[in-house]
Symmetry: C2
Subunit: 352 residues, 2 copies
């Protein structure tokens, strides 16, 4: 039975609560801290987009097509479908001589409400570019164009989201190598954007991100690719999520000190390069909209030395979030459980 990680308060009473598990692991794979069951396999969903983008860089495809940091950050993103995001995804595809018709991620309205409304007002309809995974898929397309090696690109790419396709085999190999999990022995499902998603124990997910943080155990090419993607996300945090979003705000404030990425169904992964750690958490009930962000904020408070009042205030607001109703009245708060903060070395608590 996993412990409560986040409580939703209304007035002076706990209205709802979220259980879950957390693993903090170092580059050698040693477990540094944990709460709950970290051996149960969980689907990381979009939280491992950085790992899935490693072959794009390692293969040389990113350089072949001249991808910028913004474009690499978008390859690791769950973006809001704002105009900058969709333009950038289209630019990546154009560098490979293709367009959005090649993407196999499916279509949805932009998650960013104002962008969706602006499209509606213009009479526009969403395309695959607006899918929050379009940057990741554009990266897969670039990788596929390299692998096609002169053969017909469109023909080669057909079905690239299927587990047996050469592109997905490269992506799966990177997931297997970084996490140390044998993917033939773990549950496999189909993700929201139609690629395979594999279920990993949180311990292994955290180890994968500790390797991203440190390069330990990755080999020089993969370690360099991981560092390049981390830095791309840190230098273009807007590309990773969008206006007002958690990952964007945190990386705008903390830069390379935190590389964090949310995934559907309440998963969060982060690389903490200064501490040389990887973090992975899963909210049992799959709540992504609020619980896993509040929990991740508390873990960042616990593990990342925060530099100034602005940083401390940002994280304190994210780990103990005020809830307002439709009239703007304060009605409660979302609050990370102290157990999360107690996991850390205590540097920030002592200073606070």
């Amino acid at each position: 039975m996993n412990p409560v990680l986040v409580e939703a308060w209304r007035g002076d009473a706990v209205e709802s609560f979220h259980r879950g598990a957390v693993a903090v692991v170092d580059g050698d794979g040693a477990l540094v801290a944990a709460l709950g069951d970290i051996e149960r396999p969980v689907f990381p969903r979009s939280a491992v987009k950085l790992l899935q983008a490693l072959p794009l860089v390692e293969s040389g495809a990113a350089d072949r097509f001249g991808l910028t940091d913004e474009e690499l950050a978008l390859a690791c993103a769950s973006h809001g479908g704002e105009p900058t995001h969709t333009r950038t995804a289209a630019a990546v595809l154009a560098k490979a001589g293709l367009d959005h018709a090649v993407l196999e991620c499916g279509v949805h309205w932009p998650y960013h409400e104002a962008s969706a409304h602006a499209m509606v007002a213009d009479g526009a309809r969403p395309s695959t570019l607006h899918n929050n995974c379009s940057g990741k898929h554009a990266g897969f397309v670039c990788l596929g164009c390299l692998l096609a090696d002169g053969s017909d690109r469109r023909g080669f790419l057909a079905g690239y989201a299927q587990p047996g396709h050469a592109v997905m085999r490269e992506v799966s190999a990177a997931l297997q190598a970084t996490t140390g999990c044998d993917l033939s022995r773990v549950p496999r499902g189909t993700d929201g954007c139609s690629i395979p998603t594999y279920a990993f124990p949180l311990r292994q997910l955290a180890h994968g991100f500790a390797r991203v943080a440190t390069g330990v155990g990755l080999g020089p090419g993969r370690a360099a690719a991981a560092a390049r993607l981390r830095r791309a996300m840190a230098s273009s945090p807007f590309m990773v999520a969008g206006s007002g979003r958690f990952d964007t705000r945190v990386m705008q404030a903390l830069g390379e000190r935190v590389c964090c990425k949310v995934g559907a169904e309440g998963v969060y992964c982060a690389a903490l390069p200064e501490a040389g750690l990887g973090v992975a958490l899963k909210i049992d009930d799959g709540n992504t909209a609020r619980a896993c962000e509040v929990a991740m904020a508390a873990l960042i408070e616990a593990w990342v030395p925060l530099g100034d009042d602005a940083e401390r205030s940002l994280l304190a607001g994210l780990s103990n979030l005020t809830l307002r109703n439709w009239r703007g009245l304060e009605v409660g708060r979302l609050s990370a459980h102290d157990a999360l903060r107690r996991l850390g070395p205590g540097a920030n608590r002592a200073r606070a």
Copy 2:
């Protein structure tokens, strides 16, 4: 520790799961069946709108202003802000000589996406009429106009959503009488629409709905009001929620046999008149979007004798819901735990 009520499957693995508690109570207050902790106070939020609408009918305000069944159903609704809903809320206010400016529920875009997009395309902005609680608030306004008793209506109504206002005192008295809870001794919070919400044990909430189902213990005037509101919801289920929504679909199919109403943060209440029972459930993590609907579908399957294949097929689909991704591929399902079905007398399982 509450048991798992709903599982979210991806492929062949459980991705996320929802714990919670359920109480099934008869008109005399006897506990007929339960799972989990039914004594912990939970905020029922919008699940008790029928109870909150009792004073509107009992006081004579509904008759004074000539409210129709559609309008009474809307007073018990969390509607999608579709044009029919907002027109009906405006009509109720017009019968009291007022308009939407008097409503204290706050403003949000229609929950019904197509209606929101149609407004955006027209350059329209939402008003308090689009708030999912506008029908309930319009009912409060009618009650307030009756209580104003000839004095200035607008002046009397100002602050009607506050706990100490005469309107809210009537509403609280109805909640107290139907549930048997002393509201001065339970936690109080502010709801999304700014009225007070009180935390009740599920056992008491279920008892309140058993009284609605049977009239037992309500006295003739309140029992008649409860039956009138139940029948209004059954005869106008579109008003209670809207296109494609659970409450609407279930009551369209089952009519007066089920009077069910969802509330925010994973609460569901229902009156089952044929069985003479009330049902209340809370998902621990507050998931309303999926978990409590799936759980309620299984409880209806367990407790309501279903008449034909169409009814059985509707409920089977709602209690074991197929999940599809953005390309329409089947990726998993939401499934009520067998423990919920085992709670019931077993009639439907035996027939299936």
